[in-house]
């Protein structure tokens, strides 16, 4: 499976191509799981009589993202959304399942790839923006060096005036000035630093950006600047985004469709308009109800109950059942699967026995 790609990298499935048109899926995730082994060593387990402990951070997640669209993933701490982001960009190897990028199996390609050419192509086309712009930029590098690195690393430019010009253009495209090249990250505010991260991510002209809480560390007025910028860049460059956030209001602004995660599983997926107008999963409803609102909607609110359980010891059946007002015996016993349409007017998938049986409206 590896030799043809090595000899003719331009024809490889990961090279930039027009294989997928706007609207077709660029990213397809199938049954993706990641399990971390948090056990003590074999010997201390034997001596203390403790069991192995496995953390299923991501558990059988499937979704697709059409080219040029934004999928947002929401959920509370520990629901596995950041692990999923890292799986998608290849920072983690999955325990099972696969990620198809433009039709090619990302992790298998990397594994079978003797000289690393495919991994390079993947990294050129898939980039990531991290949450904390204070931690993701090297304080000892100038902004020019930070933005130029991916260009040099991928052989897209060589040192010289052309490179300088390209870095300057990238900085301008994110609203900074070309003369900022010579400055260091500490001379910039949080919002400006996040712009530098975006310029760096855009350097290799990627198709797909994975953004892990890109505005969570920013003040609201700065957040608005960065969100508007990300939206403009998406339109200009036809970018596809996976946008991870815990803030549903931000998600409503940026996304086309939304996936809700709970304890490593995708519990609901729907186009944005449907998810916000008629959320179906009890967890989605609870999340939407829990957010403090600027305007009093007058709608009766379900009081929020309980907390996210220990992911090392998740509840049986549906992981949400201990907090769910509609849980019954079947929910405690049997794990619901995600059912529903992926496309069409009734697009929307939900993993809930109560919805399936019609015990819950929706």
């Amino acid at each position: 499976m590896n030799s043809p790609y090595m000899d003719t990298p331009t024809a490889s499935p990961l090279s930039p191509s027009n294989a997928t048109q706007p609207g077709e899926s660029l990213v397809r995730v199938e049954g993706l799981s990641k399990t971390f082994d948090l056990s003590a060593s074999w010997l201390s387990r034997l001596l203390s009589g403790r069991q192995a402990s496995l953390l299923r951070a991501v558990d059988g997640v499937s979704f697709t993202i059409p080219r040029g669209a934004t999928l947002a993933l929401v959920g509370e701490s520990g629901c596995g959304k950041s692990t999923l982001a890292r799986l998608l960009v290849g920072l983690h190897q999955p325990s099972s399942g696969k990620v198809l990028f433009d039709g090619a199996d990302v992790h298998q390609s990397i594994r079978n790839d003797a000289n690393g050419a495919l991994a390079r192509q993947l990294r050129q086309r898939v980039q990531m923006i991290f949450q904390d712009p204070y931690a993701s930029l090297d304080p000892r590098w100038t902004v020019g060096e930070i933005v130029a690195e991916p260009l040099l690393e991928h052989g897209l430019a060589s040192p010289g005036p052309a490179l300088e010009e390209r870095v300057g253009a990238l900085l301008q495209s994110v609203g900074l000035s070309g003369s900022d090249r010579a400055r260091f990250p500490h001379q910039f505010s949080g919002g400006q630093r996040q712009r530098i991260s975006i310029a760096r991510a855009l350097a290799t002209e990627p198709d797909f950006l994975v953004c892990d809480e890109p505005t969570s560390a920013l003040d609201v007025s700065v957040q608005a600047q960065v969100l508007n910028l990300m939206r403009d860049l998406q339109r200009e460059r036809g970018l596809t985004y996976l946008f991870i956030s815990h803030n549903l209001a931000v998600v409503r602004y940026v996304s086309d469709s939304v996936g809700v995660m709970y304890l490593g599983r995708l519990v609901e997926w729907a186009p944005k308009a449907r998810l916000f107008a008629s959320p179906r999963h009890p967890y989605t409803r609870m999340l939407l109800d829990a957010i403090p609102k600027l305007r009093d909607t007058g709608r009766a609110r379900t009081p929020v109950q309980g907390e996210v359980p220990d992911p090392l010891d998740p509840p049986t059946g549906c992981a949400f059942h201990p907090r769910c007002p509609s849980a019954n015996e079947r929910c405690r016993r049997e794990r619901p699967i995600l059912i529903g349409d992926e496309t069409g007017v009734n697009a929307g998938r939900v993993a809930c026995h109560a919805v399936e049986e019609g015990r819950l409206s929706g």
């Binding site: 949080g190 003040d219 609201v220 007025s221 608005a224 508007n228 999340l287 957010i291 403090p292």
Partner: protein
């Protein structure tokens, strides 16, 4: 009468490159039983205002001028010993990170009992009984058993409940809560906010709630003060400030918040960033970013003045305020 009264508070930090004014003439008051929200972006001075009131300014920060009165009595000039008697007893504090507010080496019971006995004349047994009641009141299940547990045995939301119990242990008149829910997930945040609101209401304690989350303010507070570059730029009843803001900064801030109820094509944005303390613009500190700057804004610094149903520090409202002042005379 106001329980807390802050008047022309100025906080300065002497540095090698000169004196930095982090708070410059902050004035407000909180009535007993009232919840005042303080919002603003990083560096606006909201946490510093809270720290100055409880006497926990990090050196070399110091109160350069102004007054802080608690129930009519000045507390800004108290010695450390006097302050210690006020903190915990008359002013309770809740901070963002519950893990940093609790000692990991003592059980929550030991910490609660120590706090109660420091401030109230109770025996060990009475204090323990009181600690259990407090934990129960803050919604911790099986408090009789949980009292012996250590902070690491509690989840984030439960820890913040313990911190609230600690802050309320001596029945303070004033609670200063600095970003109490920022480190918590939304589903837990709603529970903690509800608890704080109910428990302060029941006891008639005044609350100063510092946060950057307008949603939290809208659901919790009676009045809100908006801070920018070390000053209060607008203060008024919470619904008026949110729905009919008078200061251009508040207007920009409200329009830049993505909301859950409506789809928006584009968020309004305030270009630029808050000025650094060593480069505060002349006149109104917001003028370089303001879409409605007048000539006067560059020269003269506006004080808070009547502006519709709120008070705003903005020259746009000067004529209105003057007319009202004349009418009063």
């Amino acid at each position: 009468m106001s329980l807390l009264e802050v008047k022309d508070l100025v906080v300065e930090f002497p540095t090698r490159r000169g004196l930095l004014r982090a708070l410059d003439g902050v004035s407000f008051a909180i009535a007993p039983g009232e919840i005042l929200g303080v919002v603003g972006e990083s560096g606006a001075g909201k946490s510093l205002t809270g720290a100055a009131i409880i006497g926990l300014l990090d050196p070399p920060g110091r109160i350069a001028s102004g007054e802080i009165r608690l129930a009519g009595e000045r507390i800004d000039q108290c010695s450390e010993v006097e302050l210690r008697a006020i903190r915990g007893r008359r002013i309770g504090a809740i901070f963002q990170d519950p893990l940093a507010s609790l000692d990991p080496l003592y059980s929550v019971g030991q910490q609660l009992i120590e706090t109660i006995r420091t401030h109230l004349p109770l025996t060990e047994g009475q204090a323990r009984q009181r600690a259990i009641e407090l934990l129960e009141e803050t919604g911790i299940p099986a408090p009789g058993e949980r009292i012996n547990h250590y902070p690491h045995q509690f989840s984030g939301g439960m820890r913040q409940r313990v911190v609230i119990a600690l802050a309320l242990a001596a029945q303070p008149q004033l609670v200063i809560a600095d970003e109490p829910t920022t480190a918590l997930d939304v589903s837990i945040q709603a529970q903690v906010i509800g608890l704080l609101k109910r428990i302060c209401h029941d006891r008639g304690a005044a609350v100063m709630l510092i946060t950057h989350d307008m949603g939290v303010i809208a659901e919790t507070c009676d009045r809100v003060a908006v801070m920018y570059a070390g000053r209060i730029v607008e203060i008024g009843p919470v619904q008026q400030v949110i729905h009919a803001p008078a200061h251009p900064y508040t207007m920009g801030l409200m329009a830049s918040i993505p909301d859950l109820e409506t789809d928006r094509e584009r968020l309004a944005q305030i270009d630029g960033a808050m000025p650094r303390l060593d480069a505060i613009p002349s006149g109104c500190a917001f003028h370089p970013r303001c879409p409605r700057t007048l000539e006067r804004c560059r020269r003269e610094r506006p004080e808070l003045m009547a502006a519709g149903s709120t008070r705003a520090a903005c020259w746009l409202h000067a004529t209105e305020a003057e007319a009202e002042a004349e009418a009063a005379q």
